[in-house]
């Protein structure tokens, strides 16, 4: 076992660093830096994705024949680490990391030909139609229905917690196409154009005052039959496959470290104002606790990546990574509000939080904490992940 980089890996790392120096502009960096929600604004992530696409560096998880990078797991780790620590925007994962691998595995040749290039270029901006008001952790109880009528499915129902639905051009969604058998046996996987007549979107304002989430209503929405992915009533396999990518394929450690670094930038500003919470040994220990978990998680992620090969199932390891990454996200953001104490609550009013030109970094600490409460809930709540880990142990 050896975690030192080989000459080739070092050369690749330098290549990535040069690319970042030449392409990561200050405005892109600022766009990510001021992001306190799950994703940066679409104009930021798309602008960055276009630069990556020119270089062919968008899809590390895809096979090369579809435009993937052909990287080894270690190269992927290097790339994601360098990007995150340099402050590069997060590429919107709904297309590249979630629906992309599903289409590659389950999609028809026509679907692959149409959508994969548009995912790579960022032309389509995807959102995820999984949860419903009465189907959260128990996803198989979903009720949004699709009924075949000629060459179209007619979709009725609603999806909720749909992040960035108000920006999205496409949605991948789970629908009920049968009430027979077990609940999971009547689920299908559809691709829906968000401009389709009958779709309406209601904003849901988060704890932080920000608008990221939505409820999406479907009222007799016609979806062409060729937008079915896989078999009718065979959507659960696609759904599960995608969830593993959602939970475990993200490489979160460097993003988490980048959040911690942002907090240190805030602390530096405060030290200039005469406030130095880390001078208190108790706070230094709190910092150490979080940083140690982060070091541990980085190695856990790397080890897991080392075991993973394209096409493998991530299985229970994806649950472990999701569980830990989400708790770490909360731990980092909690550290921010704990260290800042009463300073944390004063920066700006909730009504102003959608003003991206307000570049006061201190104002990111509280919203990040508030928004991070969601991370142990979405993508399968922590309790669901623990259940999956237990099942894998044989309980």
């Amino acid at each position: 076992m050896d975690i030192d980089l080989t000459d080739d890996e070092l050369a690749f790392r330098r290549e990535v660093q040069v690319f970042l120096r030449e392409n990561l502009t200050e405005s892109l960096r600022m766009g990510q830096r001021m992001t306190t929600g799950v994703y940066p604004p679409p104009e930021i992530s798309r602008a960055w994705q276009r630069k990556l696409a020119e270089r062919g560096w968008v899809a590390a998880l895809w096979p090369e024949e579809y435009g993937g990078t052909g990287w080894t797991p270690v190269q992927r780790f290097i790339f994601e680490s360098e990007c995150a620590l340099a402050g590069a925007p997060l590429v919107h994962p709904m297309g590249v990391r979630l629906i992309g691998p599903v289409l590659i595995r389950f999609g028809s040749p026509e679907q692959k030909a149409r959508y994969l290039p548009r995912i790579l270029s960022g032309e389509d901006y995807w959102c995820q139609g999984y949860s419903e008001p009465n189907a959260g952790s128990d996803l198989t109880s979903l009720r949004t229905a699709a009924v075949l009528d000629g060459d179209d499915y007619i979709v009725n129902g609603s999806k909720i917690w749909t992040t960035h639905a108000h920006h999205a051009t496409m949605m991948f969604m789970l629908v009920r196409t049968s009430g027979e058998g077990k609940p999971r046996e009547g689920i299908s996987f559809l691709l829906v154009d968000m401009k389709s007549p009958g779709i309406s979107i209601r904003p849901i304002i988060s704890l932080s005052g920000e608008h990221e989430l939505n409820q999406v209503f479907f009222d007799d929405v016609r979806v062409p039959k060729e937008n079915l992915v896989g078999e009718e009533n065979g959507g659960w396999a696609c759904a599960q496959y995608l969830l593993e990518f959602e939970r475990g394929a993200g490489l979160f450690s460097a993003r988490l470290r980048s959040s911690l670094n942002r907090l240190f930038s805030v602390l530096d500003e405060l030290v200039d104002e005469g406030f130095d919470p880390l001078a208190d040994p108790l706070n230094a220990a709190r910092f150490a606790e979080v940083a140690i978990e982060l070091d541990t998680f980085e190695m856990l992620e790397l080890r897991t990546l080392g075991m993973f090969r394209m096409g493998d199932r991530l299985g229970a390891m994806s649950s472990m990574l999701k569980l830990r990454a989400s708790r770490m996200k909360q731990a980092v953001s909690q550290l921010g509000v704990v260290l800042l104490g009463s300073y944390a609550v004063r920066w700006r009013s909730l009504a102003d939080t959608n003003e991206p030109d307000d570049a006061d970094l201190k104002a990111t600490v509280l919203p990040e904490y508030l928004n991070s409460r969601a991370v142990t809930i979405f993508g399968g709540a922590s309790e669901v992940q623990l259940g999956l880990i237990a099942r894998n142990i044989g309980l």
Partner: protein
């Protein structure tokens, strides 16, 4: 990068695992530990932590860790930690003389036992020992007290750290436990082997001083850190065993007419135990692979704190899920619980290592870079 173990590492791991497993099956813990110690000596594994140039096998911190983890999985505590990982290692890394080379060779055969006496009070990492060493008439006089020296109660030779009066710097001394003025007070330390406090008012030969000055301080700090890693690997072995024992138990223990493994609250706790074991493995691999790097202090403290917290969770949860029988000597759980309790308390508590981690990272902000890529 190569993210899996080499074939040699796997065969080392499997070999030690088999040897410990065989010993644990046939006899009681004390006899089993003796048998493992004899097997390790016979097969040459006592040289694992010693460079080849000094007559050892030249194993890495990771390989020492794999051995310790295998022993920990059976809670078999031998002098390997005190005599080999600490004592002989210091002797091997210090400049040798014919007399010390002879002691080293015997330690690597298992013919003599060594121990490191460096701790004072609750300071596991003392940079300026209160024990003093004064050279007079060509002999050293060592005066003072050391605490919690593992293996010292039965050792033939001690390595003692002291502040050398003439230079006011650290020196490391090889002291025969039979020398007049070396008093040892033995106590049980929850590990299955005894430790001792050591009272010194002893005179030793001129060449007993192995190394003095910054080189001595660095050598001591390095070997103590390697010792912490070895103990943490042993703790991981014990955690893994408790996890396995608990999984097996909840599947057969029935309450309310069904196995308690079917209760969600039980399942979730066991899943958390599994996560703690994976995390401990991760940080230990990382810290061991970087044991010779400038990041050593940071990562050793990270490992001790992370595994310390994991050990607490896994040990306490294992007892809780075993119910009443978990707090008794009826099962093996008790022995593992004590071993892990000892681990949390010695060579720096979680809190001490959190402080040390903060001191190692904050001034240079080294935590802002990838810990793997640097």
């Amino acid at each position: 990068m190569r993210l899996d173990l080499t074939e040699d590492q796997i065969s080392l791991m499997d070999g030690i695992e088999r040897l410990c497993g065989d010993a644990a099956r046939v006899t009681n813990p004390t006899n089993a530990s003796e048998r493992v110690w004899n097997d390790l000596a016979r097969m040459g594994w006592l040289g694992l932590a010693t460079p080849e140039a000094r007559g050892g096998v030249g194993g890495s911190a990771l390989e020492v860790g794999l051995l310790m983890r295998a022993a920990g999985r059976h809670a078999l505590v031998t002098p390997f930690f005190s005599s080999v990982v600490l004592g002989a290692r210091i002797l091997a890394l210090a400049a040798g003389s014919p007399a010390t080379d002879d002691v080293l060779a015997k330690a690597l055969n298992g013919d003599v036992l060594m121990a490191l006496a460096h701790q004072e009070g609750d300071q596991f990492d003392p940079v300026s020992p209160a024990v003093t060493a004064t050279l007079s008439g060509g002999r050293w006089r060592l005066v003072g007290q050391k605490t919690l020296s593992f293996g010292a109660a039965d050792a033939d030779w001690l390595l003692v750290s002291a502040t050398v009066e003439r230079s006011q710097s650290v020196g490391l001394f090889l002291v025969n436990t039979a020398a007049p003025g070396v008093k040892r007070s033995r106590f049980g330390a929850l590990r299955g082997t005894d430790a001792a406090d050591v009272m010194l008012d002893a005179t030793v030969p001129n060449d007993a001083c192995l190394v003095e000055g910054p080189a001595a301080a660095e050598l001591l700090s390095r070997v103590v850190d390697e010792g912490i890693l070895a103990l943490a690997w042993e703790a991981l072995g014990a955690m893994t065993s408790l996890f396995e024992q608990t999984v097996a138990y909840v599947k057969v223990r029935e309450q309310f007419g069904r196995p308690i493994a079917t209760f969600q609250t039980v399942q979730h706790r066991i899943a958390e135990m599994a996560v703690h074991c994976e995390e401990a493995q991760s940080i230990l691999e990382l810290a061991s692979l970087r044991a010779a790097s400038p990041e050593r202090r940071r990562l050793v403290s990270a490992a001790k704190a992370q595994v310390g917290r994991g050990a607490k969770f896994v040990a306490e949860t294992a007892v809780q899920l075993h119910g009443g029988v978990g707090v008794t000597e009826e099962l093996q759980v008790a022995r593992f619980f004590r071993l892990l309790t000892c681990f949390q308390a010695v060579f720096g508590t979680v809190d001490q290592h959190l402080a040390r981690y903060a001191a190692a990272t904050l001034p240079g902000r080294t935590h802002s870079r990838s810990v793997v890529l640097g």
